[in-house]
């Protein structure tokens, strides 16, 4: 009996030791994005692309809601191959479309959730809209790396589970002045922990069709 317990403890200890390297080699990228005035930028996409071999992707299922005649979230980051559902949570019908070369599609007027999701299988940016409510514009960033996320209201996002190694980190935003590549920078994630990166980006004014009323212009009515 005592021998069995000792063997069991030894096996657990060996197993734990075997896991340590993998855990220790998983670093993280703590990103902070600010605009030209130093204000935090929400809805900025931060990606970390490993240099060398292309990483394995694990596409899953995501949703972009339509709430109060807006796409929620305004920016959604997914990995290539992800199936995205577009539930309409308003009590009116919406019509979702995209002209973007990365993914062109159209979901004719509907309520509820369409039975089939839209699969985003190519990397790039897809701008979506509603043909009824012109101010409804959203963006889906399709990444070719599993290490992607969007910033919160404080302009922060943490990409965890990054294997140690060299990366190119980029930031993208719908109003980014210049290209995503121009906002890229090399970094090295070591096996011991976190890398903090701060971007200061220049944003253009948001000039999408205005939702607020203008005298004499009746919007979509």
């Amino acid at each position: 009996m005592r021998v069995t317990i000792v063997r069991l403890l030894a096996a657990v200890a060996l197993g734990a030791l075997a896991l340590v390297p993998a855990w220790a080699e998983a670093g993280e990228l703590r990103a902070l994005v600010r605009d030209q005035q130093g204000a935090p930028v929400a809805d900025a996409v931060v990606v970390a692309v490993p240099r060398g071999a292309a990483p394995a992707l694990r596409p899953g299922r995501e949703t972009v809601d339509q709430i109060d005649k807006e796409f929620v979230p305004h920016v959604k980051a997914v990995v290539a191959g992800t199936a995205v559902f577009f539930p309409n949570k308003d009590n009116i019908r919406h019509h979702v479309y995209s002209f973007s070369p990365v993914k062109t599609f159209e979901l004719p007027l509907y309520v509820g959730t369409p039975a089939k999701p839209v699969v985003f299988d190519r990397a790039g940016v897809v701008t979506i809209g509603c043909n009824i409510h012109d101010w409804m514009i959203g963006h889906i960033y399709v990444a070719d790396t599993p290490h992607v996320g969007t910033t919160d209201k404080e302009g922060k996002v943490t990409l965890d589970g990054l294997p140690a190694g060299a990366y190119t980190a980029r930031v993208w935003h719908p109003r980014l002045e210049g290209t995503e590549q121009a906002a890229s920078r090399p970094l090295v994630v070591d096996a011991s922990g976190a890398v903090a990166v701060t971007w200061q980006v220049t944003l253009r004014p948001e000039l999408r069709p205005r939702r607020a009323p203008v005298p004499g212009a009746r919007g979509y009515r």
Binding site: I92, N131, L207, R210, A212, P213, V214, G216, Y220
Partner: protein, 294 residues
């Protein structure tokens, strides 16, 4: 098959009308506007001696239902209530109650796709001085579209007819229905997004048809008129006359978004009317107020 389709259609319409299927059919619409309007020449008089300016508090509310008939077409039906209260010229105080129906169709996909809107309005006008009390009808066709991120343009044609309940005859040679008027308006307008919150708009319109204006007795004007009636709203010795004219209107405005549903707005409009025999007038209109849309 046809019977079941008919039954489904009838059920859908009935559900819409009874409000049992708002998710499928319709959304509530509500527009509310309030503000001040200043006019430098309320009576549109061509004679300096008769020009009267005044300021009015103006409020209007439109509420109704809108629905999307297909991927490109929307329809709406609203009940409209509005009114103006003048600072000095009490006889011009009025309330308007009416209905507006509109169908708007986008000719393509996307925010930049051009659109066509056809609308019709019927309204009852009830003035403090009832010589103006009556009905107003308007039928309009507008087209528009966006040109890039900043610009939106639109143009349109409208036919408007107004008929008054009463005709106070003041001349044996002319009818008293001066407030029975009709005319055609052609308009063009551009909106520019200046910043994320500020839009600027400008427009030009030309109207041909009847104009009703007010003056004290003037033989030259009366000879050119097609109808005359007393107009105590402007003064005890004022007469309203109907005359054919061409009116040009230039508008410049500013709209500041406070929220997604509320804006603060100001505009200036210059009206210049030209009638035969040199009976011309000008009117400067300044508006400022709030506009809310739900």
């Amino acid at each position: 098959m046809r019977t079941s389709l008919k039954t489904a259609a009838v059920a859908l319409v009935a559900a819409c009308l009874l409000g049992h299927a708002p998710a499928v059919c319709a959304e509530w619409l509500l527009d509310a506007e309030t503000g001040l309007v200043y006019e430098s020449n309320v009576g549109l008089s061509p004679l300096r001696r008769d020009v009267k300016g005044d300021v009015a508090a103006a409020t209007s509310v439109s509420a109704g239902l809108g629905t999307h008939l297909d991927d490109h077409t929307s329809a709406s039906l609203t009940a409209d209530v509005g009114g103006q209260k003048y600072a000095d010229l009490d006889g011009l105080d009025h309330v308007a109650v009416g209905l507006t129906g509109a169908i708007r169709r986008k000719l393509g996909l996307g925010a930049a796709a051009p659109w066509v809107r056809v609308s019709g309005t019927g309204a009852r006008l009830d003035y403090e001085d009832d010589v103006r009390t009556g009905w107003r009808y308007r039928f309009a066709v507008d087209v528009g579209g966006r040109l890039g991120e900043r610009w939106a343009v639109r143009g349109g044609w409208a036919f408007e007819e107004r008929s008054a309940d009463h005709a106070r005859v003041v001349s044996s040679r002319l009818p008293g229905d001066a407030f029975d008027v009709q005319g055609h308006t052609f308009s063009a307008r551009a909106d520019v997004v200046a910043t994320e919150r500020v839009s600027v708009f400008g427009g030009y319109a030309v109207r041909t048809g009847d104009v009703v204006a007010s003056t004290r007795r003037d033989p030259g004007i009366f000879v050119a008129s097609t109808a005359l009636t007393r107009d105590p709203a402007l003064g005890p010795d004022f007469v309203a006359y109907r005359i054919e004219a061409v009116v040009h209107a230039l508008t410049l405005g500013l709209s500041v978004a406070v929220t997604d549903r509320l804006s603060v707005n100001a505009s200036y409009e210059r009206l210049q009317g030209f009638a035969k025999r040199g009976i011309d007038y000008g009117n400067d209109v300044v508006r400022a107020g709030l506009l809310f849309v739900y």
